[in-house]
Amino acid sequence: MISILSRVSGWFLIRRLIQSLILILILILVNFLLIHLAPGDPVHLLAGQSGDEKYFEFIRAKFGLNQSLASQLWIYLTSVLRGDLGYSLGYKQSVFGVIIARIPATLLLTISAVLISSGAGVVLGVEAARRENSWTDRSINAFALAGYSVPSFSVGHLLLIVFALRLGLFPTQNLSSATQEVAGLAYGVDVLSHLVLPVTTLAIVYVAQIMRLTRTSMLNVLSENFVIAARAKGVSEGRVLYGHALRNALLPIVTVVGHDFGMLLSGAVLVETVFAWPGLGRLMLDALAMRDYPVLMGLFLMISVSVIVVNLIVDLTYSALDPRIRYGRISK
């Protein structure tokens, strides 16, 4: 990774870093505007619904709610930049702390799903492209289109009913069985059995996307001269597909998948709801139900910032892998 990143030109890196920082500042501004444009007293959004009058007074003073809008913005901006996203009365903890505690569960879910669906999606996409318009291609396409159309939570419900409730193969909820006090290997197995259904749900939905992207990208690459040259040289078809063509087809796939990180997170939220997986999505819904607005706004900001950071990493990796765009503008 370090050696790849060292190939990114300094100028490009600086430009993208500044761009990302500006975007983050604008996002904080958007958050601020949302809090002030929403109907009702902004103090409820900054403090949460459950506070008493004394606490509201404290928050009013802290965020300078009786001062001008400009100075309120300054106070809000500086406190967010210091990492102070407010305090959650519901969780009796700083919003930042509440959110950080939930990140590992969501990461475990999303990373497992991405790994599985990338592997399966790329192979299926290549095979579909190899037999363009064949029966295989059509079936893979139909599956992909269905994957795009069924709500992710409904896929989750289906798996839940069949494999957890009817067959009893997997637990229905949570990350681990709270009743057992276990550690080490047994704990790992326990978490794994809880992980299977949510990850499968997310992977089914995500594999559709990767499959379709791979197919299109491969079809574009397969008509290029270097592929014809490789075939003419007598390189085996497998090598042509997975060696020569795929390597070139992967770049756009990586970019699109990276730029759609936010979509993956949205899917994760809904899947977490179905399986009561204790990650960011579950937190967001609980915050919504308890009207814990500081947590809700904090989550929105942190998720948006993480999308910006992932976009940045993807662009840098892309520019390192493909020197042609190192100095140019990124076209998504």
Binding site: Y148, P151, S154, L160, R212, L219, M284, Y293
Partner: protein, 293 residues
């Protein structure tokens, strides 16, 4: 790959759809869409019951009296599904048309004007693309209240950037073509060139995009209602899924039929959009459909 002759490929590209089999799929999708549209328009005549009507026949499985069964409050699920298609299609189509209009306006302006205007409009577009659509809609709905009206506004605000970018790219390539140059040479005003010369040629990709957008919007809207951010004055598919989730253990039908309805409607829309897309461009520009939820 190699079994196809150039002539066959050319013909396929010309017709736009590879075989009868493909056209049959398209036909099925169109029929499905027509069915949903019919249900939405004639909901009062088709539904046997008022979907809001509570009865003491709680959680009954599908039967002749209740085709899709009843929910915990004894409400008829078939009627809910029929009326739900009205909500889903109304929101989906309104949002797609509204955000399509905004997107076309911004895309046309940016693509044709170029320079600073283009730069500014595109930065604005990118800004709107950063917060994940679902979260942005969720937060706005949570703060501003989730009525039918706010849902439409919220979703329109989050959906226009995709169209804007697509239209801009299309305009940028179209405006270099010789027929546009010819129009310009004949002294046509920029407005006339845009509306009479460029827009009609960009229309196919705009229509495809709008069709695909309807499906995406329906999914996001269902997801928002599923997590409890719907308009409680209407029975919608998302609401039925939200409410039915509690009875997943004993009464599968409560969530099964609304889920089937969402999936079929979105699948039909995606199939039609995808076929249009392939017919217009075999290389498939819109490979990445929207899967927001």
């Amino acid at each position: 790959m190699n079994q196809e002759t150039f002539e066959q490929r050319a013909r396929r590209n010309l017709i736009g759809w590879p075989s009868f089999k493909g056209r049959r799929t398209m036909l099925v999708a169109v029929v499905l869409l027509a069915l949903f549209a019919f249900a939405a328009v004639f909901a009062e005549q088709i539904a046997a019951h008022d979907p809001h009507m509570i009865s003491d026949e709680s959680l009954r499985p599908p039967s002749a009296a209740h085709l899709f069964g009843t929910d915990d409050l004894g409400r008829d699920i078939f009627s809910g599904v029929v009326y739900g298609s009205r909500i889903s299609l109304a929101i989906g189509v309104t949002v797609a048309v509204l955000s399509g209009l905004i997107g076309v306006l911004i895309g046309l302006t940016a693509g044709y004007a170029g320079g600073l205007v283009d730069d500014l409009l595109m930065r604005l577009t990118e800004l709107f693309l950063i917060p994940p659509r679902f979260f942005l809609a969720l937060v706005i709905a949570a703060l501003f209240g989730s009525t039918f009206f706010t849902l439409i506004i919220v979703l329109s605000v989050t959906y226009w950037p995709t169209t804007a970018r697509l239209v801009r790219a299309e305009v940028m390539s179209l405006k270099e073509r010789s027929f546009v140059e010819a129009a310009r040479a004949m002294g046509a005003s920029p407005a006339r060139i845009l509306l009479r010369t460029i827009l009609p040629n960009a229309l196919p990709i705009i229509i495809t995009n709008v069709v695909l957008m309807v499906g995406g919007v329906i999914l996001v809207e269902a997801a928002l209602e599923f997590i409890g951010l719907g308009d409680s004055n209407y029975i919608s598919w998302g609401y039925m899924l939200h409410n039915g989730e509690h009875f997943i253990r004993d009464a599968w039908w409560v969530i099964f039929f609304p889920a089937l309805a969402v999936s079929l409607l979105v699948l039909a829309l995606n199939t039609v959009g995808d076929s249009l897309n392939r017919a217009l461009d075999p290389k498939s520009r819109i490979a990445n459909l929207d899967k927001p939820a």
